[in-house]
């Protein structure tokens, strides 16, 4: 259901005759070619991401944290250009914080998602940002909203994003069932991310997971050697 995601061409057009002396990764913008995922369960959401940030073919940061807190119970998963997504996340954090203080109430996830959409849509020509907004609020409990490149906004029970997401749509469609528990969601997310990281060159490193509910946020990291091993290799 997500709009066609034209991913940052991290391997694409760099093969050019002029590039022999200076490797192309020195001149590429930093991209979070990535895999991100968010799942709703009854009582909250589970979000996950890989940890690789690339500049062309070079891994600029192998332990990136792409799960960015926007508010106490609202997180966003960032994919696309690192600079753009960091800037948008900063702007929305400020706007949401201000709004929440004005209302004297914790903000709604839908509000955060709409703030992301507003920025991503208005500046769609200049930005390269695909974001998943996920969190818990009192009105609708756990929610996941997808704001892909271009600035669409849609609520989904499960959403994936980033360059590695193409490899796990099938896995996600066949393994997600409504009414899963938090532990099942964590298993599903970590398995999906592992599979995507195996196949996508721009995703890798460790798996970062977080679960958000009324009681708070629990974060964990699954290191490379602790990931589930699948049978094709």
């Amino acid at each position: 259901m997500a709009a066609a995601t034209s991913m940052m061409p991290v391997f694409g057009h760099q093969i050019s005759p002029k590039n022999d002396l200076v490797p192309d990764w020195t001149r590429q913008e930093v991209s979070t070619g990535t895999t991100i995922m968010a799942v709703e369960y009854d009582g909250g959401v589970v979000i996950g991401a890989d940890s690789r940030t690339t500049t062309g073919a070079y891994i600029a940061n192998r332990v990136t944290d792409k799960l960015t807190p926007i508010h106490d119970r609202i997180f966003c998963c960032r994919s696309g250009s690192a600079a753009d997504t960091q800037a948008i996340a900063d702007v929305v954090t400020y706007q949401l914080g201000f709004h929440s203080i004005e209302l004297d109430e914790p903000p709604l996830v839908e509000t955060a998602a709409n703030l992301f959409k507003a920025s991503c849509y208005r500046y769609r020509e200049e930005l390269m940002a695909g974001i998943l907004v996920a969190g818990w609020d009192r009105r609708k409990a756990g929610q996941v909203y997808c704001v892909p490149i271009g600035g669409m906004l849609v609520r989904q029970p499960v959403a994936v994003g980033g360059s590695g997401s193409s490899y796990i749509y099938g896995f996600m469609d066949s393994n997600y069932k409504p009414g899963m528990s938090k532990e099942q969601c964590l298993e599903l997310t970590s398995a999906a991310l592992t599979l995507a990281m195996e196949r996508d060159g721009s995703s890798g490193g460790v798996v970062r997971l977080a679960s958000i509910s009324e009681d708070g946020v629990e974060r964990r990291v699954i290191l490379g050697n602790q990931l589930t091993k699948f049978s094709t290799h």
Binding site: S16, P17, K18, V22, T26, R27, Q28, E29, V30, T53, T55, Y58, A60, N61, V63, T64, S81, A82, A83, Q86, A87, E125
Partner: protein, 275 residues
Amino acid sequence: MALANVLEIPAAGFSFENAPRNAALEGLLDGVQTPKPLKTGTTIAGLVFKDGVVLGADTRATSGEVVADKMCAKIHYISPNIYCCGAGTAADTEKTTDLLSSNLAIFSLNSGRNPRVVMAVNILQDMLYRYHGQIGASLILGGVDCTGNHLYTVGPYGSVNKVPYLAMGSGDLAALGILEDGFKPDLELEEAKELVRASIHAGIMSDLGSGNNIDICVITRKGVDYIRPYQESQYKDSRKLKYKYRPGTTPILTEKVVPLKLEVVHETVQQMDSA
């Protein structure tokens, strides 16, 4: 909105009017590329150790294929507790770090506090993101403040990474290899200095754009130790001869004087009546 037929004085700063056109051109024509931030020759590295942060850099500044400065300072002062290594376009890193340093000095005077490393990072990120990569500065910021020891890197497009160790510049792959192999959390001071020195040395040996001496800057709660140079290049040369010539070195064999014939032209000035 300005009218199309009224002359507009261009605003100060970078103009991005041509950015969409350039992007379209890049797509249409093969091989046409808009200029990207240049990574000129440098190896810089930094790591967090038990008592603070160690930053290291080589000292070569290149201008094309020629070494422009053999002893340039790539570790810039930001505030008493924060220093910054700069890679990329030398002018950009100089000016950006100067601007940051001035802003933080004003903040310190206004608030009576030492600036925190996150402040410096946020200011840099804002500025570099606003300029969309036109300012070619890749910076490693390290410092010690009341919240601990921090090392951040800011890229030319405005992306920030908080890391325990890092290398940047054209020699970064070699330097990072040494750092990846030798880094452990909570190193002692001498080990940390030696590791940074070894990583810059690897960058110098493996990259043509890096060379000459190695500078090290150690920042701890107690203060800053800026050791310049920490290690001198073993390939220094000394000039064997003097290249000044005394008058009379070239003997004069003959002298011939030829007067120039000048034509004297009669000159009159006539005043014009302006009607």
